[in-house]
């Protein structure tokens, strides 16, 4: 009957006396900074190539929301270290983030960011604004700059439904923070240049959520086609990209069946035309 004995001495006092901001990160750093990512230690040698890296994430807005998709490959140097890694994370009811770069740091970011948003929402009795969420994420990335210089780079892509505007919004970041709001679509990770090129041709204003999910799957395929660190759909193992949709109804991940349906459709078309759909020239 005493599960809180696990907590450091003096915490019970701290819990009830703290009257600072509604930020979880700030509260934790004031009493147990060791729980947060170690931001100031310096590594003897950069180990960037030895830890798993997550690669391509794409996101695009549609009428009334936003879709995000990520491939499933994690690589350590030239080795494929995992085939079914998840890189798209639900942050709260109306937002999600995808990570590219050092997988471990990215996953830690995603966990912390989720708690950060929920903590604020519960304490304030009100959700954070979209811009507020994007800024919080920027602060976390800025805090990781020293580690990024050591090779542990993590760059997220943030997508949210903005209830005030009834539209999806996308923010991308550099290693020093950001955030940069993107119109229509964006991609991050090693395959992003190819994905972005693909999206440029395939994006349609006012598309439906389903069409935009298909567009992102096409873009991920194009990224996997040209980038060795990005995984394509794994047909033999039935490992499909993760696709998340956020609109006025909240966050939802498309089901395996739905995604495999899109992938089958795409692969059938690619057997005829390997480079995928062609945008009209005029």
């Amino acid at each position: 009957m005493a599960s809180h004995r696990d907590l450091p001495a003096g915490l019970v006092d701290h819990l009830f006396r703290n009257t600072g901001s509604s930020s979880f990160t700030e509260f934790v750093s004031s009493y147990a900074p060791e729980l947060l990512p170690q931001r100031d230690q310096v590594l003897a040698t950069p180990i960037g190539d030895q830890v798993p890296h997550a690669t391509t994430i794409v996101a695009a807005t549609f009428a009334g929301g936003v879709v995000m998709a990520g491939d499933r490959r994690a690589t350590s140097g030239n080795i494929i270290s995992q085939r079914d890694v998840e890189k798209v994370f639900r942050a709260d009811e109306y937002s999600c983030m995808g990570i590219a770069g050092t997988a471990s740091t990215g996953i830690e970011f995603a966990r912390l960011f989720r708690v950060e948003l929920e903590h604020y929402e519960k304490l304030e009795g009100l959700g954070m604004s979209v811009k507020g969420k994007a800024n919080r994420l920027a602060t976390m990335i800025r805090g990781n700059l020293a580690m990024a210089m050591q090779g542990l780079v993590v760059v997220p892509l943030f997508a949210a439904y903005d209830p005030d505007k009834d539209e999806g919004r996308i923010f991308s970041y550099d290693v020093a923070g950001g955030p940069y709001e993107r119109e229509r679509f964006d991609a991050i990770g090693s395959g992003s240049i190819f994905a972005r090129g693909s999206l440029k041709k395939l994006y349609r204003d006012g598309a439906s959520a389903d069409d935009m999910a298909m567009t992102l799957i096409q873009a991920l395929y194009d990224a996997a086609d040209d980038d060795s660190a990005t995984g394509g759909p794994d047909v033999t193992r039935k490992i499909w990209p993760i696709v998340a949709v956020i609109d006025a109804d909240g966050f939802r991940r498309l089901s395996e069946e739905q995604i495999s349906g899109y992938v089958d459709q795409m692969l059938a078309a690619r057997l005829i035309s390997p480079d995928g759909p062609i945008a009209p020239l005029r």
Binding site: A2, S3, H4, L7, L15, F27, L35, H119, K122
Partner: protein, 265 residues
Amino acid sequence: MPFGYASPEQIMRDKADYARKGIARGRSVVVLQYVDGLLFVAPNPSRALHKISEIYDRIGFAAVGRYNEFEELRRGGIRYADINGFTYDRTDVTGRGLANLYASNLGRIFTESIKSLEVEVVIAEVGETPESDAIYRLTFDGSVFDEHGFAAMGGQAEAVVNRLKERYRESMSLADALEVALSALTEPGGERPPVGQLEVAVLDRNREHRKFLRLTGARLERLLGQSSATTTPETPPSTPLETPPSDAPPPTGPEGPVDDGSSPL
């Protein structure tokens, strides 16, 4: 500094009386089980100052008494839950752990401080099945009561509990549970609080991720219209209602007007 001598027994009794008097000034709050989880109902004219809140994925909080005091408890509970969930795993945050935290904190304040907290708190946790739902009621002195089916606290708690006992059944629909809660909160022949002055929330085991959901506006009105007429004949119970204890004011009881529903506390 106090003059003369008062026995520890007397001091504790005075503190308890003081706290009871403070809590009795507020209106009651009800927590009860329904088929898909747990329902929280509080008459509360304020839209911003909540008596009911989410603590964690499966854990809700309800309180009566002094707002600033239970608000501090609520915030402390959220910090505790978020830290534990972040340090270990989200499934490692339990209602029992929170109840213990609150009990030790309330008990310490009751014994060590001059003034005890004038609050009563319910920590409710929704499980995978109705059998694993848990309702912990905590009083100002740190006592913990593991309630089954329902709990009520606040000014008219005893009368409300009696009315709940009469009408509560297992595995009620949400609309029926709400109807039961409202009739328990309303004195026989009394007028029900209007929809705008109700704070209603659920912990719904069928929801994804976070189970807590506030019911407001049209959704709540629809629900109020749905309750099957079979559950509540509008006849007052035949047994005489018990009046809340301690009509005689304790020597150190706080002065103040009796709650008329206009204040959120």
